[in-house]
Symmetry: C3
Subunit: 122 residues, 3 copies
């Protein structure tokens, strides 16, 4: 199902939850959206309790996330302040995750640039 949609479809997801339903749902949403709107831009910003998704030894979704990143379907950004507070360094992150100084600022900035904001939750 290819949609005749706005060519400028871009959305930033706010993930601050460690709930597996939420973490799995973001993977599923990316698959569904990129399937129907191949030109969409998607970014996932991870902070607070969302951090586990970014850590190699904690997430069960590493291969799914790495596939998304390798296929350029979405970018994943992790909050440096959240990492510091949890004593996590860059070597512990799933390969391909990028670090931003302040996850909230990243979410603000993307909204200012016209990206849609979606809070991941259920």
């Amino acid at each position: 199902m290819i949609q005749a949609q706005n060519k400028d479809y871009k959305v930033v997801f706010d993930l601050s939850s460690k709930d597996s339903v939420n973490q799995i749902s973001i993977i599923r949403e990316i698959g569904l959206i990129t399937g129907s709107s191949p030109d969409v831009k998607i970014e996932v910003v991870i902070y607070g309790q969302g951090l586990d998704l970014a850590i190699k030894d904690r997430t069960t979704l590493q291969s799914a996330v790495e596939k998304i990143i390798s296929e350029n379907k979405a970018t994943f950004k992790v909050c440096a302040m959240t990492m510091k507070r949890n004593n996590i360094d860059k070597s512990q992150l799933v390969p391909g995750f990028e670090i931003v100084p302040d996850g909230i600022y990243e979410l603000f900035s993307k909204q200012q640039q016209g990206w849609g904001y979606i809070k991941v939750g259920h």
Copy 2:
């Protein structure tokens, strides 16, 4: 209490939760907001686990939602990708619900058009 507010008050609610507290709260919010700001435009976008609110045999809020729709207090839009994934077809929806191809796109699009975004959650 009629407010002297921006005539352009329009808000889109993101409902991806099956939690009854959340589903009831959206009904209550619509009553409160339309009571104080009769010219407000409200849209509720349902996707993911929010789907039950849209299905005749699953929601306990059908009469409340139908009243809102019949009085033009809000529109309710359901994500077609969520319906497909859950094997729900149009005949199972509460009358008056509309279908959009992609609930996330609908939320993005409304934000681009200047609607306020509110995630329903507690």
Copy 3:
């Protein structure tokens, strides 16, 4: 860590949760963000089940919130419709909290003015 960021960093938090993890996280976020971005503007809008944070006899975070307000690090606004529905009057609020007629409208209005929107949740 002082960031070279957009001078116009301003963010409105939507707090409709009584969950202590969420209520504590907003206090922590304010500390982290104002620490790294001293010029940030932060507003917290409280409605629905978030109300307890605003009530002197119910919150355990009163001294933390009063400190934030006294240092002008954030403003806290409570929805009058939520207060009325819960039979709470102004005398019961933590000093420094402001009342807005409609919390959802406040969140809409701030988004229209270019503030980033963040739903507090986990």
